[in-house]
């Protein structure tokens, strides 16, 4: 089991990034509006996150360095601080949304009051992160997140148009009537790229490698984990696009709540589909909440040089422990006000694209540096691909906010 179980770090990271509450509904909506035409963005983003997480995991295995200490060291203090503030904002907003998502799933199962369930979710998360060791967090929420594969089965049951699906993997500009529709298409393209390459996935994954005490001999394992984990995430994402295109578009349903996302699984597989979808969403949202809260605490601790890690006793990483506790409480305070969790996370997805270049540039520069990484430095292919992706995400970061404003957040 030992080393094989490490794959759950990749699965937890990917499920928490690819099918958390915001992206679940966002990808279904994109599929219901644009059909298969945005699938190439999903493929592009999946390859990008595999590329960069592999580098970040390799740096963690070889040098035991996490992403935020690299960011501060390589971009300088002020740029690093701006990245830290933005990344923490994204983590807090996403974590708040996931706590709301868990409460919504529990509400569907119990019909209890949403606000009390939000408080119950806070207690649940604090107890789980306090008592469970990191490797058990990986295993429990990674394994449980696999229940989201019910959406892969649902997509297959919907009978996707394979020729359209393959055609969607080729980048193209869609046939649309107006400039506003075109802007809407590109808004969704940028947001999907951002939501797949969410920076907190990289922060969490690299910190997780250090939590799991990776060594240089683990770099092959690191490769296997990123490919298995994120390919699964990509598959889930493609499945959601298919369901959006084949089910929600056909029935003219706007999939704006987790409950509506489960409808497609219910119609395909009855009550088994319903429970798999609800349990899968619970584990995916809960995994994402833990991923974002911990990555918020990892980032701050790494930026200012505090001792950090779940592998240390809480009293020996006191400020790190206090930080994740405060993040959970703050996120609960945000979401208990009744603010819509899906809306919250959609804003955070768009703003996180701005953080992407500052996150991935230091990772690329260090992974490519032979003086630091020695024989484990990037090969030519990783370097060339890394720089191509950096250009792409920089362009996405530049156009993200103007597109968001111009399209009113994809409502144009």
């Amino acid at each position: 089991m030992g080393r094989f179980a490490e794959v759950f770090l990749g699965i937890l990271t990917a499920v928490g990034g690819f099918v958390e509450i915001g992206e679940l509904t966002f990808t279904l909506t994109a599929g219901s509006i644009f059909g298969y035409t945005l699938l190439w963005v999903t493929a592009l983003g999946t390859a990008g996150i595999i590329l960069y997480c592999e580098m970040a995991g390799r740096i963690a295995a070889v040098k035991h360095r996490a992403v935020f200490s690299l960011i501060r060291e390589r971009t300088g203090f002020t740029a690093g601080l701006i990245t830290l503030v933005a990344a923490t904002g994204v983590s807090v907003l996403t974590c708040a949304a996931e706590i709301g998502g868990v409460a919504l799933v529990w509400q569907l199962l119990s019909a209890w009051s949403y606000r009390w369930l939000v408080i119950a979710a806070l207690v649940f998360f604090v107890l789980v992160v306090w008592w469970l060791e990191f490797e058990w967090i990986e295993r429990v929420f990674g394994l449980g997140g696999l229940l989201m594969c019910v959406y892969v089965a649902t997509a297959l049951a919907e009978g996707p148009s394979w020729s359209d699906l393959l055609a969607g993997l080729v980048p193209r500009t869609p046939d649309v009537a107006s400039g506003r529709e075109l802007a809407n298409y590109w808004y969704y393209a940028v947001a999907i790229l951002s939501s797949i390459m969410l920076p907190y996935e990289t922060y969490f994954y690299a910190s997780g490698g250090i939590e799991d005490q990776w060594k240089p001999k683990d770099i092959t394992l690191n490769r296997v984990i990123v490919i298995v984990g994120f390919a699964l995430g990509g598959l889930l994402s493609v499945s959601l696009v298919v369901i959006g295109a084949e089910f929600f578009q056909a029935h003219s349903i706007q999939p704006q709540l987790p409950g509506s996302a489960a409808i497609s699984a219910v119609l395909a597989f009855g009550s088994v589909g319903l429970f798999a979808a609800l349990l899968g969403m619970f584990f995916a949202f809960a995994g994402a909440a833990i991923e974002t809260a911990l990555s918020g605490a990892y980032n701050i601790a790494q930026f200012v040089g505090w001792p950090w890690g779940k592998y240390r006793e809480p009293r020996n990483a006191a400020r790190f422990t206090l930080t994740w506790l405060v993040i959970f409480v703050a996120c609960t305070a945000i979401i208990v006000t009744g603010i819509d969790p899906v809306q919250v996370v959609e804003y955070s997805i768009v703003f996180s694209v701005v953080v992407l270049p500052f996150t991935y540039l230091p990772v690329l520069v260090v992974a490519a540096d032979k003086r630091i990484m020695g024989e484990y430095a990037n090969g030519i292919a990783s370097n060339v691909l890394g720089w191509i992706y950096l250009v792409i995400i920089t362009l996405a970061a530049i156009v993200a906010i103007p597109l968001f404003v111009f399209t009113h957040g994809g409502q144009a």
Partner: protein, 115 residues
């Protein structure tokens, strides 16, 4: 044996690790002695919010001074064992006065069951 060290790129904003291998801050600033007629030499690494705030825009610097009252900690350069990707110290954090807040919060956290 290395002949030169780029302080801005290889020391400033790098993690400091004490003799026990525990992180105990970042190099937030570097102080020099500049005796008349002689070249400047590094005297201390400076750690703490007031050290980094001096490097940020005025408004943020003012805000940090308003909120944080902890003094900076000066680590004599002679305490530096070696510099790789991290700055390795010869002594423990406690001996050098680093990581005080962590120990203070640690006392509070250790009262919680399971800590």
């Amino acid at each position: 044996m290395r002949q030169s060290l780029d302080l801005a790129r290889e020391v400033l904003d790098h993690e400091i690790v004490d003799a026990d291998g525990v992180s105990c801050g970042m190099v937030d600033d570097i102080e020099f002695d500049h005796p008349p007629g002689k070249p400047p030499v590094v005297s201390n690494l400076v750690v703490g919010p007031h050290a980094w705030s001096a490097r940020t825009p005025a408004l943020l610097s003012w805000l940090v001074r308003l909120v944080v009252h902890a003094p900076v900690v000066r680590v004599p350069w002679s305490e530096v064992e070696h510099v790789t990707e991290r700055v390795q110290l010869r002594s423990t954090a406690a001996k050098l006065g680093l990581g005080k807040a962590d120990r203070r919060v640690g006392k509070w956290v250790s009262r919680i069951p399971g800590a």
